[in-house]
């Protein structure tokens, strides 16, 4: 634990000084890295912890971004107030979407979640209720103001995104240490065993979706702020595949694994930008190599530790 803490402090220290040494386009990549990590960590609640194949997670990321965009541009609600609304709305969607399909397993659930993602994308494309702006999306999203500070400069948004990542990591860490995290773990390892000693399967599975949806939505709001615009492409099925693979390649249920996964799947391809779309070769090769060489993920999680208060004998 101590050792981990040192690594995390080092990680965030580098993140704090990083924008002072790179050009603006790389600051943007740093911001997006933080936000994608948040989405990947939220995807992991559903996929890695609770073991449900959710291939539509970009939906919840998009609900956050569009909620903030619509409330801010149409109703002039300050961004900072749209955050709780976006989280609540997305969590509610998570519950509504997952409720009827939660009993599905593995690939069946996966296909159903893809279906939801496609419906969501089509709704955005077709300018639902005249609010989503169709294929062009929505422009002119404002910046949040916190304690009188206007978070509009590139660096301010960068730090804000990293602050959100820190909060998310603390949430995930707490889930892992709680009864909730253990219930997810048992359900993933053996549903029948978990149910037979009294874990409420449906409740915890829906809760996993609600939590994952809420956290992804938070990242969505900041993402909308970063680009001051939202468009449907960012929340389509391909994007869901990216989040799904980040978790699988990085290491399900492992915080460092998922950060590393985001780095490999999102940041590394940026090094090869001169090659235009050919940079996605990296993406594909990384997926194939990891599955062959490290099927548990690049940085797999260590399981099996119950909290001290439960296991101490005497």
């Amino acid at each position: 634990m101590r050792k981990n803490l040192v690594w995390y402090i080092l990680f965030f220290t580098i993140a704090v000084i990083y924008p002072h040494f790179v050009d603006p386009s790389w600051v943007d990549i740093g911001t997006t890295f933080a936000l994608y990590s948040v989405v990947a960590l939220s995807q992991d609640i559903v996929l890695g912890k609770a073991g449900m194949f959710d291939m539509g997670h970009a939906t919840f990321f998009g609900i956050g971004a569009y909620t903030a965009a619509i409330l801010n541009t149409v109703y002039n609600i300050p961004i900072i107030y749209t955050i709780p609304i976006a989280i609540a709305l997305s969590a509610l969607f998570g519950i509504i979407i997952s409720w009827p399909i939660i009993h599905l397993r593995g690939d069946y659930l996966l296909v159903a979640t893809i279906g939801f993602n496609i419906i969501f994308y089509q709704a955005l494309q077709n300018n639902l209720f005249g609010l989503t702006g169709g294929p062009n999306g929505i422009f002119g999203i404002g910046a949040p103001v916190i304690f009188g500070i206007n978070i509009s400069s590139q660096r301010a948004i960068y730090y804000f995104a990293w602050f959100i990542l820190l909060i998310t990591m603390l949430i995930i860490y707490n889930i892992d240490k709680s009864k909730l995290g253990r219930a997810f773990h048992y359900l993933r390892e053996s549903e029948i065993a978990a149910e037979s000693f009294g874990v409420n399967k449906r409740f915890y599975k829906v809760l996993a979706f609600a939590l994952g949806a809420g956290v992804a939505s938070l990242a969505g709001v900041i993402f909308a702020v970063q680009y001051a615009a939202v468009s449907p492409e960012t929340f389509n099925f391909t994007q869901s595949v990216l989040f799904f693979t980040i978790v699988i390649v990085g290491g399900p249920s492992s915080i460092p694994g998922i950060l590393l996964g985001t780095f490999v799947m999102f940041v590394v391809p940026q090094f090869f930008r001169e090659f235009a779309t050919a940079r996605y070769f990296v993406f594909g090769i990384a997926m194939i190599l990891t599955m062959i060489l490290r099927p548990q993920g690049i940085w797999p999680a260590k399981f099996g530790k119950l909290p001290k208060y439960l296991t101490k004998e005497s």
């Binding site: 048992y186 099996g304 439960l310 296991t311």
Partner: protein, 236 residues
């Protein structure tokens, strides 16, 4: 004796396949009742219906005077029915001790006496309490599965094939322990393919055949019934 579990006209189907039909039987407090039958007869399905893992299509399951057939599994555990499912389903990445603790998931506080009692029933588990459950032998894993089910302090324990894959010597140890568990006041309903051995120490038995109960009686009656001997126990 008081009836602790009464099942009436139970019907379960998986899609269009009928797994159980018109199942009626009861378990009385303090008994060991065994369900015997060939593969696919519906033994496991019966236990799963009782613990709520599958929902019956028709019929009633009454536990201590209360209908439980519409309840979710986690509620049924809280009422005092514990199910040690088929195939052990222990958590290999957790230690023996941690696996046992999971059995007490529904308890607000872990009862040291229960743990002590389980360690007395299965001294092996105490010896290996710090070991990862995945490294246990088959017999030890079975002991762990039974021990874990006991941690919730059940009134009725459902055992699914506790002798599966075990040597005759280990089977005897498990069955002797089941008897001890009954003697300490837990009623037991178990499913066994090893019908002869199971009937020898049970009070009563029911014989299932393709989803129906075809015979019932005390263990002695069943063991001496020509039909049972031929069909399920093998010719002498």
């Amino acid at each position: 004796m008081e009836t602790i579990l009464q099942i009436t006209d139970l019907e379960v189907s998986y899609g269009s396949v009928v797994a159980l039909k018109d199942i009626t039987f009861n378990v009385k407090s303090g008994e060991i009742v065994v369900l015997v039958g060939a593969n696919g007869a519906g033994k496991t399905t019966t236990l799963r219906a009782i613990s709520g893992l599958v929902k019956p299509k028709k019929g009633e399951i009454i536990f201590e005077g209360k209908r439980i057939d519409h309840l979710h599994p986690h509620k049924i555990v809280r009422l005092g029915i514990s199910h040690a499912p088929e195939g052990r389903r222990i958590f290999g990445t957790l230690t023996v001790y941690e696996n046992l603790m999971l059995g007490a998931y529904t308890q607000k506080q872990i009862d040291k006496n229960t743990l002590e009692w389980i360690y007395n029933l299965f001294p092996r588990l105490k010896e290996r309490s710090k070991q990862l459950a995945g490294t246990l032998s088959g017999g030890e894993q079975q002991m762990l599965a039974v021990g874990r089910a006991l941690m919730s302090k059940p009134k009725l324990l459902l055992l699914d094939e506790p002798s599966l894959g075990l040597s005759p010597a280990l089977t005897k140890i498990i069955f002797d322990t089941v008897k001890q568990i009954r003697n300490s006041g837990v009623t037991i309903l178990m499913v066994e393919q090893n019908a002869k051995a199971a009937l020898k120490f049970a009070n009563r038995g029911y014989v299932l055949e393709v989803g129906k109960i075809v015979l019932s009686g005390t263990s002695e009656e069943l063991l001496s019934s020509q039909k049972v001997v031929e069909a399920y126990l093998g010719r002498k």
